[in-house]
Subunit: 328 residues, 2 copies
C-alpha cells in the first residue's frame, strides 16, 4: 500500500515516525515543504526536509524536535565570536548536512538528488522528496511589514501576528516529476498535522499540486494540527484566527474546504473535538475522532494505523460511490 504524506517539519514528524513503523517504510513517500529554506553562513539549509530525514533516521533531537540528538555547538559559539548571525542555531553535526547539501547543489545536483543521498546515508528507508527542485520562499506579512519566514518564525519567535502569507517563487516552481508520480500512484494521500498555512499551504501553492491531489485515485486524509482549539506545535492556532478563521478542528476543515474545494476526503480529529464532527462532515469531509495527541511510540504507531485504516475505508467508499455513479 503506497502512502504519500504531505509534511512540514516538527508538526509532522511524530505521525511520520508512526507511519514508518506501522507500514513497510519503503512504501512511504513524504513530500516536504521547502518554503522555509534559507541560506545561512553561505550554506543551503532546508529545515523541514532535515527534520523529516533526521526523524525517520531515528536521529532527531527528542527535546527540540529539530536538529540532531547528541549535538554539540562548538561552531555556533565560534560563529558568535566572529560576529556572524547566530539567531538560527546550527549544531555541529547538523552543519555536516548543510555542507554536503550545499556542496552537491553547487556541483549541479538537485534538491531531490541530495535529499535522497542524505536520507540513504542515514539509513532512512522511506522516500523523502522536497516538494520542488525550484526555490520557493515563504514570507509573512505582520503589522510591521513583510518578513522572511525564518525571520518571523525563529528570529522573532512568531510573536508578530501573521496577516498574510506569500510564497515567493511558487508561480515559477513546479512539483517535481517524482512528486507528481508519487501522488498519482498512491493508495492513500495524507496531510500531516503540520501548519495548514506555512507548511502544507506552501506545498499546495505549487502550480498543479492541488489538481494532482484532487485528481488522484487515492483519498486525501488530513490530521488536524489543532486539538481542543490549540496547536500541538507552533503558531497554527493564532494563524487560523489572524488569517480569518477560527482555531479549532472545524476551523481547519473550513480552511481546507474553503481554499481547496474537494481536496479533503477525511479529517482525523481528537476526541476532544468529536462534537465538531457533524459540522465537519457537513462540509463534505468525513471525520474520524480518535486520540490524536502522540505522547510516545505506542501512540504514534496506533494513530498511524488508525489513519491508514481510515484512508482504506474512505478508498472503499470512493470505489463504492464510483461504482454507484457508474451504475447510474
Amino acid at each position: 500500500m503506497a502512502i504519500v504524506a504531505l509534511a512540514g517539519g516538527i508538526g509532522a514528524s511524530k505521525l511520520l515516525l508512526g507511519l514508518s513503523r506501522a507500514m513497510d517504510p519503503r512504501e512511504l513517500t513524504v513530500i516536504v515543504n521547502t518554503g522555509d529554506d534559507l541560506e545561512l553562513h553561505g550554506l543551503e539549509v532546508s529545515p523541514d526536509v532535515d527534520t523529516v530525514v533526521y526523524t525517520l533516521a531515528g536521529l532527531a533531537n527528542p527535546e527540540t524536535g529539530w536538529g540532531l540528538r547528541d549535538e554539540t555547538w562548538s561552531a555556533h559559539e565560534m560563529l558568535g565570536r566572529y560576529g556572524a548571525p547566530t539567531w538560527f542555531r546550527l549544531g555541529d553535526r547538523d552543519l555536516a548536512t548543510h555542507l554536503v547539501r550545499t556542496s552537491r547543489l553547487r556541483g549541479g545536483a538537485t534538491p531531490t538528488d541530495v535529499t535522497g543521498e542524505l536520507a540513504q546515508a542515514l539509513g532512512v528507508r522511506a522516500r523523502i522528496l522536497p516538494m520542488s527542485d525550484r526555490p520557493v520562499r515563504t514570507r509573512v506579512r505582520t503589522p510591521g511589514g513583510w518578513l522572511d519566514f525564518q525571520e518571523w518564525f525563529v528570529a522573532r519567535a512568531h510573536a508578530d501576528d501573521a496577516l498574510e502569507i506569500r510564497f515567493d517563487g511558487a508561480e515559477d516552481a513546479r512539483p517535481t516529476e517524482r512528486v507528481l508520480s508519487a501522488v498519482s500512484s498512491a493508495d492513500a494521500l495524507m496531510i500531516a498535522p503540520s501548519n495548514p498555512f506555512v507548511s502544507i499551504g506552501t506545498i499546495l501553492a505549487l502550480p498543479g499540486m492541488v489538481a494532482a491531489l484532487t485528481g488522484a485515485a487515492a483519498p486525501v486524509v488530513a490530521v488536524s494540527p489543532i486539538v481542543a482549539g490549540v496547536a500541538l506545535k507552533g503558531p497554527a492556532d493564532r494563524m487560523l484566527e489572524t488569517l480569518g478563521g477560527e482555531s479549532s478542528a472545524l476551523g481547519v476543515a473550513r480552511h481546507y474546504a474553503g481554499r481547496y474545494p474537494g481536496l479533503l476526503d477525511g479529517l482525523v480529529v481528537d476526541r476532544a473535538d468529536e462534537a465538531q464532527a457533524t459540522s465537519i462532515e457537513a462540509l463534505g469531509i468525513r471525520a474520524l475522532a480518535t486520540s490524536a495527541v502522540m505522547r510516545d511510540d505506542a501512540d504514534r504507531a496506533r494513530l498511524a494505523g488508525e489513519v491508514l485504516a481510515f484512508a482504506a475505508e474512505l478508498q472503499t467508499g470512493r470505489n463504492a460511490s464510483l461504482g454507484t455513479r457508474q451504475e447510474v
Copy 2:
C-alpha cells in the same frame, strides 16, 4: 621597531608567539604562505593563515600545532557518515572560521580583508597578511607524479619523496600592496623556521617578492628550520636532500644563497650547528648560534629577543657599511 616575518604555519608559530611577546605586537606583521590553501566541503580553507591567527590569539591546539584548542569533532564524524572526504580533519570550531571566510570571500571581500577581520575578532594585535589575494597552489612532484600540496602533505603524510615543487598561479599572483608596503617600511625582516620550499619558497615565488626583500632597507634574518640535521617540524630535512641539497643548517644557508642570492643577511642556527657558522658566513650570510629549539614560552621569548637583537646588529652593520661606501 616594525618587524615583518615571512611564515608558513606550524613551523613558524612558536617563534611568532615569542616575537609577539618580546615586542609590541602591533609592530609585528606576518606575511603568510597561502599555497597550502584548499577547498573542502565547498569551504575555503587557508591552513597556514589559520595556524598563525590561532597561535597569536592564544587559541592554537597545543598538541597538534594546527586547529583550535578545546575542539570538538562532531561535524567531522557526521561528514564521514555521509561519505564526504575526511582525510583533512576540520574541527567544529575551526569550521566556523572557514564558514565566515568563505561567506565573506563569496561576498567580494579579499583574503587580506577576511584575515584581518578574523584575527581582530579573536583579539590578535599583530597584523597578519596573506602573501597574496590571488590564488597560488603548491604542487609536489613525487616518484608517482604530481600531487596537490595537501594530498601529498596530509592525505599521504608526506611519505613520497618530493622531487620538484611547483607554484601554480604564482606567475599571475602578486604580493598585495600591504605586503609590499610592510616589507619596504620594516626595521627588520625575518624568515621564520618554516619549510624553505613549500612555505617560504611559495612566498618568494611571487613576482617581485624577492626584489622587494633584497631592496628593502631592513636586514633579512632567517631562523634555521633544521637543527642537528633534523627538521623541527615536517619534511624540510628530507626535502633538502631529495631536492638536491643537504639536511643541515648549512644546507639551509646554501639553499637560500643559491636560489635567492643576496637575500639573507643573517641566519640563526642552533648551538648544535655552531661548527657550520664559518661555512655559512663564507656564503656572505652572518650566522648567530644560539639555543634555537623552543620548548616553552620562556624559550620562545628568549629566542625572539635574540633574533630581534641580531637583526638590529645587522642593521647597524649595514648602515656602517653603507656609510663606508658613501665615504669611498
